[in-house]
Structures are given as C-alpha cells and as structure tokens.
C-alpha cells in the first residue's frame, strides 16, 4: 500500500451538527487526488483538517505513517494554496516565495537559489520585484504555488485554487498545476466543485456529498460507471433511465434498476444499415440496437451539437455529436444506434 496520507474514522462537527461523518480514505504518493463535490459537501472542511487548521476533529490523520492529528499546522510539512491566493501584499513576489525558507533560517545563498529556481519554473522571474497587487489573478496564484512548492512539502493542498479566475486562465493554470505535479512528483489534493476541472487533471477523484464519500476512483471510472444517481447527475448530462423504459426501447435489462447512457455514445444511423439494424432490434442480444424517432431540437455547443431525440416509443434522449458536417436536421425521422455495452447500471439505488 503506497498511500502517503490515510484518513481514518474522521468526524467533524460544529455545534451539534455533524459535518463530516466517519470518513475513511487514502491518498496515493505522487498522484493528484481531487475532492469533488457541490458546495457544502464538506470537501474544504476535510482539507482544512488535513492542514491542521481545524482543531475540532475526531479520528486519525496519518502522513507517511506518522500520526499528525494533533500537530500544529507549522509542524506538518504540508503546503496549502488558497482560493484567495493569500499572498502577503507588503512583500515582493521574491520575498513572498522566500518567506517559508526565511522562517526556517536557511542560508542566504540557498534561499536565493531556490527562490530563483521556483520563479523560473512558474515563469514569474520577470515579476520578481513586483508587489502582489500589481499582478493578475493567474500570476498571483502562480506566486502562491511557487511559495508553497519551494518548501518541498510532502503534500500540497489546493483549496479551489482556480475559482476566482476567468475561464481561459483557469484552463491554462489547471494544466500548469498538473505539469508541476507530474514534473516535481508532488502529491497533491485538489479541491473543486467543477467536475470538468477534476476530470481533466486528476489521477484519482473522491466525490463527496453531505459529509460522506460517494465514490472514489479515476476520472474514467467515475464518468463511465457512476455508482449512484447523485453522481450520475453531478458528473454530466447523462440520460438516466429506469429498466422499464429501457425495455420499451428494446434493451434487455433488469426492470428494477436504473441505468445511465452517456449522450455521446449514441450515433445517428444515416446509412443503408437502417434495415439491418431494424432486423436486429428484436434479437435481444444484438451488439447494437437501433431506436427510431425524430430529432426534436439541435443546439450548437461550439465543437459539439446536442440533440433532443424523441423516440417513437416515448422517452426523450439526449444525443451529443461532434460538430462535423454530417448530422440530421431538426424534424428528421432517423434511427439512433446504441451499443448494448453503453447501457450502464447504477450500483446503488
């Protein structure tokens, strides 16, 4: 087991309200793990407990085998990045980055060398002597990253580090954080409420809701095999259908269960295969089923088109296709093709 951090039986409550309930999980060394959940799900509370900034906790937090549950934050060797950047406005960029090394009373030469290295890495060398208020949001967060990474913490916690940034910068910085993490081999915990962000950069995702872990796994795991309804809804624009409805479309499934079908796994049948697919329809075990219906609306999402497809047997399906040149018109009567293995059951009710 190569978990760097293990959290056991974590319980956190303020004023009789239990915010975190019996949480257990591990974070693997050298990986980027995301805590993903809606606001109020408890992800930041858990992060602050790991940092040592929350004193009212029960349970055990172990870092590299040592129990750090009752250590003060300045003795944990953990770094943290705040959504507000939390730069020290009275210090220059270089002095901000040097701050932690100065607290450790490192030799001057070493401080200069390590700070310069970090400034190069985060591409902030040109702004070395600037003050935080002169920087853009993205630059501020890069300085905050440099300031934490220069101390080479065993674990770096990032608390919604990109939430205050514009969409474009958010994507750029997200990719940079992932690159730092991989190049320097830092173990990171990344808190976010944005599922696209979490999926784009994580090795491992921990979905939280209501103070509990809902699912832990890779982006692909979670996206392709959501455990329950909450995750299916939170993760994306899934088609969520019950067994009865699916049977009416020609799928052989358990009527008691619920299923998800990702909208991008449908394809429009615009070929001579129509008749072939039609034939397959009633042979229950066929690889591909073909569902007749009419295109109700199409909406351009830039690189994709999202269709609402009204099936002849009733339910509406969401279908997504790349915005290439071939796609059916609104009101066209077509079939959509669905591979049997694209129908994924939810594990929990």
């Amino acid at each position: 087991m190569d978990d760097l951090l293990t959290v056991e039986q974590l319980n956190i409550g303020f004023n009789q309200t239990q915010v975190i309930k019996d949480m257990n999980f591990g974070v693997k060394k050298g990986q980027l793990t995301s805590f993903l959940g809606p606001s109020g799900s408890g992800k930041t509370t858990v992060l602050r407990a790991i940092a040592g900034l929350n004193k009212h906790i029960k349970g055990h937090i172990r870092l590299a085998g040592h129990d750090i549950t009752s250590l003060p934050p300045n003795q944990r060797n953990i770094g943290m990045i705040f959504q507000s950047y939390a730069l020290f406005p009275n210090l220059t960029v270089a002095d901000n980055v040097a701050y932690g090394l100065r607290v450790q009373r490192r030799p001057k030469a070493e401080i200069i060398k390590r700070v310069d290295h970090m400034l190069e890495l985060t591409d902030m060398m040109a702004k070395k002597d600037a003050y935080p208020d002169e920087l853009s949001g993205g630059q501020k967060q890069r300085v905050a990253l440099a300031r934490s990474m220069v101390l080479e913490p065993q674990l770096l916690l990032l608390d919604e580090p990109l939430s205050a940034l514009d969409a474009k910068i958010r994507v750029e910085l997200r990719d940079q954080i992932r690159r730092f993490q991989q190049e320097l081999g830092i173990t990171m915990i990344f808190v976010t409420h944005d599922q696209a962000e979490a999926m784009a950069i994580s090795d491992d995702i921990l979905i939280m809701n209501d103070g509990k872990i809902q699912q832990q796994g890779s982006a692909t795991d979670i996206y392709e095999r959501p455990r329950n309804l909450f995750i299916a809804k939170f993760i994306g624009n899934n088609n969520i259908l019950d067994g009865t409805t699916l049977r009416s479309l020609g799928c052989v499934v358990n009527e008691q269960r619920q299923y998800v079908i990702r909208p991008e796994l449908f394809t429009f049948d615009n070929s001579q295969q129509v008749s072939l697919a039609q034939d397959n329809r009633h042979s229950a075990n066929a690889e591909v089923i073909s569902i007749p219906g009419v295109v109700e609306s199409a909406s351009l999402l830039g690189d994709r088109l999202e269709f609402t497809f009204a099936t002849t047997s009733g339910p509406r399906l969401k279908v997504k296709q790349l915005n290439t040149r071939e796609h059916p018109e609104v009101a066209a009567h077509v079939n959509v093709l669905l591979r049997r293995d694209a129908v994924t059951p939810l594990v929990e009710a």
Binding site: P73, N74, F82, A86, F88, G100, V103, D133, L151
Partner: protein, 261 residues
C-alpha cells in the same frame, strides 16, 4: 450638465457654505484689531496669537489634553487591537454580537454618564484621571473597531494568517510579520480617532474632575466668556487641528481597503 446635476451641486455647495462661512469669519476675526460695523476689519494684527502662545494656561491646557488623548490611544492599542483581530478573523459569532457595543457612544453620551460617574467612582481612592481615560477609551471603542473592521474585510487576512502558519510560523510571529504590516494605515486611523476623542472631551472632564484638570476644550469655553478675539484664535487653532486630522483621515481611510480590492 443636466438640471438634476445643477440642483444637486447647488445644494451640496450650500451645505458646505453654511458651515464654512462662519469659520472664515472666525479666521478673519482672529487677525482683526477691531471689527464691529465694517464688512472687513479696519486693521490686522498678530497680537492675539502672540498673547495666546505665551499664555501659560494655554500651554497647560494643551498639554493636559495631549496627555488624555495619548493615554487613550495607548490603552486602546494594548487592549482593543488583539481583540478586534481575533473577533474579525476567527470568531464570526462574537463579531455578530459586537454590534450591540457599537451604539453605546450614541446612546450614552458624556452628559448621561457623568452624574453616575460622580456617584460611583467619585469616592474611590484611585486617581480620577485614570477613570476618565478608561471611560474615554471605552467610548472610542466603536470608532476604533469600525476603522479596523473595514480593513479586515478588504483582504483575506484569515487566509494570510493561516498561510503564514502553513509556511512554518508560530501564531504571534504570523501576526507580527504578516497581519500588522498590512493593516498599518487602518491602525493609524483608529489611533487618530481615539486621540481626537480624548483630546476633545469636555463634559466628563469638566464635571467628573470638577474643573481641577483644565483641558483645551475647558480653556476654550472659559475664554469664550472672557475675550472674543482670543477665543477666535483658540477656535482657529482647534479647527486647524481637526481639519489636519480630518485631511489625514480622508487620505488614509480606505487606503488599506482600496489596496485590497
């Protein structure tokens, strides 16, 4: 310029004029040898200023007021500053309750306090000046709090404090190294407000201390009854001090706050 704008500018100018004209008159009067029936005084002099500056009562009164003002500032800095930091950064619940204290100087002006003060503290074997300073400091708490409250809301000081902790600092060092340097203009404004409250206090000093301790304001009232020109000189001095403080406040207040935006 629209009609609405003209009206608004006119009314604002009127308000300012109503208050500034008397001050201008006082200023002229303080330089006048004699000014009764003419529009401007017949001749000018610096005599009244000279008389005042060399008057030992004036000096004593000024020094007495400075002592009260300075002492109030020291008490406020030592007692209020740490409490306000703690409340603002860590204790939302307590912060919500502080607003009850905010109305106190409004609901409890000196004249309401003073009868009871005499009754309670009048006979204790502790110098009354100490009570005076404590009471003045207590009355200036809301102004002190408010000047810092805006500053604390302008940046994520909690994040900065916690970040300093994550970077290895112990709590007191984190406060000294990271918080203090970034609230210094706010602290200065708070000090200035407390100082002026102390310097300008009249009712409590006059009645509670029974006139034994003559401050600037008490001297001013005394002179008002005695000598018109000398009084106008004193008024000009006092106004000069206040306007200086006001200008400093206007320049500084919101400086930490603006920088934080």
């Amino acid at each position: 310029m629209t009609t609405e704008r003209k009206w608004s500018v006119g009314i604002l100018t009127m308000i300012a004029g109503l208050l500034l004209l008397p001050i201008l008159a006082t200023l002229i009067y303080s330089f006048a040898t004699n000014w009764v029936k003419t529009i401007l005084p017949a001749s000018w002099t610096l005599k009244w200023y000279g008389q005042l500056v060399t008057n030992s009562d004036f000096l004593t009164a000024t020094i007495n007021s400075l002592i009260v003002g300075a002492a109030a500032v020291v008490v406020a800095m030592v007692i209020f500053l740490p409490v306000i930091f703690y409340i603002n950064v860590f204790d939302e619940r307590l912060k919500a309750k502080v607003r009850y204290l905010m109305v106190m100087p409004y609901a409890v002006p000196g004249i309401v306090l003073v009868t009871g003060l005499v009754q309670i503290y009048g006979n204790l074997p502790i110098p009354k000046l100490i009570f005076l300073i404590l009471i003045i400091t207590a009355l200036s708490f809301p102004a002190f709090y408010q000047s810092l409250d805006n500053v604390f809301m302008s940046r994520d000081f909690r994040g900065m404090f916690e970040q300093a902790r994550m970077l290895g600092e112990r709590p007191v060092s984190a406060f000294v190294h990271v918080i203090l340097p970034n609230i210094k203009t706010g602290v200065f404004v708070a000090m200035l407000l407390t100082f002026t409250t102390g310097f300008s206090e009249y009712v409590i000093t006059n009645i509670f201390l029974n006139g034994d301790y003559e401050t600037f304001k008490i001297y001013m009232y005394r002179l008002m009854k005695a000598n018109g020109n000398a009084n106008s000189v004193l008024t000009v001095c006092y106004f000069g001090l206040l306007i200086l403080v006001a200008i400093i406040l206007m320049k500084l207040s919101g400086k930490d706050v603006k920088a934080g935006k």
